[in-house]
Amino acid sequence: MSYILVAEDDSDIQVLVRRKLEGAGYTVRATAYGDEAIQLACGERPLLLLLDVQLPGVSGLDVCRYVKGYYENTPPPVIMISAKGQQADVDAGLDAGADDYMIKPLVLRELVQKVQNAIQNS
């Protein structure tokens, strides 16, 4: 079943994002760890990946690169999330292959819009 993969280490934000996306009709699988995100994504192709740049261990950038490479013919869309003021993170994310990015603090309505756009465009 197609799902959205969320990798976010702040548990409160993780819960909030899950609730919002489920409320918009999506199925969500979430993890706080980069390596788990890779495992999940490669186990079953997600509809979209929502990745925080800063994750313990394997970073969101690494997850993006790996998964895009794994599904090289049909890469799923990736939205990176980074903290404000880290323009370097945004650039790095786009370089790693991300399709879009969001800056914290997240505006939920904007998040849903970006997710919908990204899925539509892929």
């Binding site: 409160d12 609730r19 404000k84 323009q87 603090p105 939920l108 309505r109």
Partner: protein, 503 residues
């Protein structure tokens, strides 16, 4: 011990031809001795100098006991065809022992026979005193240079090293010998271990007589250091160019402290933002209705929570920006931008706030404005701060006007501009019909955390950082910002952005 018998008073010598009259009016002390060293003639100046009749006295007796052996030795040498020109101590009038300049030469009579020694004597006490005080000043000056913690190097107008203090030597591991007195290019060639940046700096600027410049660079040898340097031409009091001075200061520690401060602020900001993110997110979730229907009262409460969390976020962002600007760690990301577009976007973003206060916003954006080289995000931030201020400090139903233009002429700038604005430039005006700013508050208005009494009395929300951040970003773009205001009439904030010609 040598016998002085031959210097004892000799019997009266033959009367010789009287000396020429000009000797009596000469302004230097002149003496003539016989072969035994006894004075046979002394001019009036000499008698005045020594304060006693000199004829018949041994020359030797005029010298102080300290100088006597040297003088006697010299006297004998002069008789043998030598000469003497030096400074000795003599006992002059008033039993004073002073330095004198003594010149002795062999004296011949009209038959060209050696008859004795002629002496010219000049009291150099004052001159010696003056020299000593000069030396003292020079010693003081050197002591100051040596104890300075800045490194100094001075090149004269020929490009030779005139002066170097020991701090310079320690900083770059160079000995005075290898630099002082030599042309700088040649000296540097023989010092291959020197950091390339230092060599480059000294060589390029040694060719330039007029430039004043400063900067920083890092060196790795002998130790990892960050150095601040400053160089300026040096002129003598009469305006003649004397050379060039280089100063170097070790600012490694200051830089380290700055870096730690920025890191600390970044860390703290990140820690503060994380929980704020949750507060904002969950509040929004409730407000959007995702948590189910809520009563109006609950909705209003949560809206308040959201608003305050937004204020807090703004405050943290502003503090982080200011700290980074101060530490010189803000990197602008400029591009060629259409200023009109930047303005329109900001107005669109702030429209909800304007509408809530039933205010009007008017934009005057002329056609054909040249593109400006700016970081549109940061200038956007400046505009947002100014427009948000305009809205806050204007009553409901008031008007805010934003005007863009190009200024070619210094005369055409609005009043209050400083002298150093460069034209042509782009000029942005944000004007309101609001409360205005008190004359007392005006000089402080750009200060960090400054809130005027009026603002506080009116209970207008603000951190006091909006204008500070705006000024910092405008100035980082090499622009200028100022304002004009009248109480109860309104305020106009002006800022310029340079337009580079060509390119």
């Amino acid at each position: 011990m040598e016998s002085d018998a031959h210097l004892a008073k000799a019997p009266e010598s033959e009367p010789s031809v009287p000396p020429p009259p000009f000797l009596t009016t000469a302004a230097v002390a002149i003496l003539l001795t016989d072969l035994a060293g006894v004075v046979t003639y002394a001019n009036p100046c000499a008698e005045a100098l020594y304060g006693r009749p000199l004829i018949g006295l041994p020359l030797s007796g005029l010298a102080s006991p300290y100088s006597r052996p040297d003088q006697d030795r010299a006297f004998r040498a002069v008789l043998n065809g030598g000469s003497f020109d030096s400074i000795l101590e003599h006992l002059i009038k008033g039993e004073r022992c002073v330095p004198v300049h003594l010149i002795m030469s062999p004296a011949y009579d009209e038959h060209n026979r050696l008859q004795g020694v002629s002496c010219f004597v000049h009291n150099v006490d004052d001159m010696m005193r003056f020299q000593r005080s000069l030396q003292h000043e020079r010693d003081q000056f050197e002591a100051i240079l040596e104890s300075a913690t800045d490194a100094f190097l001075m090149l004269d107008s020929n490009g030779h090293t005139a002066l170097m203090n020991s701090m310079f030597g320690r900083l770059f591991n160079i000995s005075r010998l290898s630099l002082v007195g030599r042309p700088i290019g040649e000296a540097l060639r023989n010092l291959p271990h020197l950091p390339a940046k230092l060599v480059g700096l000294l060589l390029t600027l040694s060719q330039n007589a007029y430039h004043t410049e400063a900067g920083t660079f890092e060196i790795g040898t002998p130790k990892q250091r960050v150095l601040y340097w400053y160089t300026a031409p040096v002129y003598a009091p009469d305006g003649a160019p004397m050379g060039r001075l280089f100063t170097f200061r070790d600012v490694t520690i200051e830089r380290e402290v700055d870096r730690m401060k920025t890191e600390f602020v970044s860390l703290v900001s990140h820690e503060l933002r994380t929980p704020l993110s949750s507060v904002l997110g969950y509040a929004e979730y409730i407000i959007e209705g995702d948590a189910g229907p809520v009563s109006q009262e609950v909705l209003e409460c949560v809206q308040t929570i959201h608003n305050n969390a937004e204020r807090l976020t703004s405050l943290i962002n502003d503090i982080l920006d200011l700290t980074r600007i101060e530490a010189g760690r803000i990197e602008l990301r400029p591009n060629w931008c259409d200023l009109g577009q930047v303005v329109r976007k900001v107005v669109e973003d702030v429209r909800p706030i304007i509408n809530r206060r039933h205010q009007h916003i008017l934009e005057y954006i002329p056609e054909g404005l040249p593109a400006v080289w700016i970081d549109s995000e940061r200038i956007g931030q400046v505009l947002t701060n100014l427009i948000s201020n305009a809205s806050k400090y204007t009553p409901e139903r008031g008007t805010i006007i934003i005007e863009l233009g190009v200024v070619d002429d210094l005369e055409a700038l609005p009043p209050g501009a400083t002298d150093d604005v460069h034209v042509p430039c782009a000029l942005v005006t944000v004007q309101d019909t609001g409360y205005g700013i008190d004359a007392e508050a005006l000089p402080h208005i750009f200060e960090r955390f400054y809130r005027s009494e009026d603002a506080q009395r009116r209970r207008i929300q603000g951190s006091g950082l909006g204008l500070t951040v705006a000024k910092s970003f405008v100035e980082l773009h090499k622009g200028h910002i100022w304002l004009q205001s009248e109480v109860d009439k309104g305020t106009a904030v002006y800022f310029t952005l340079p337009i580079s010609e060509g390119n």
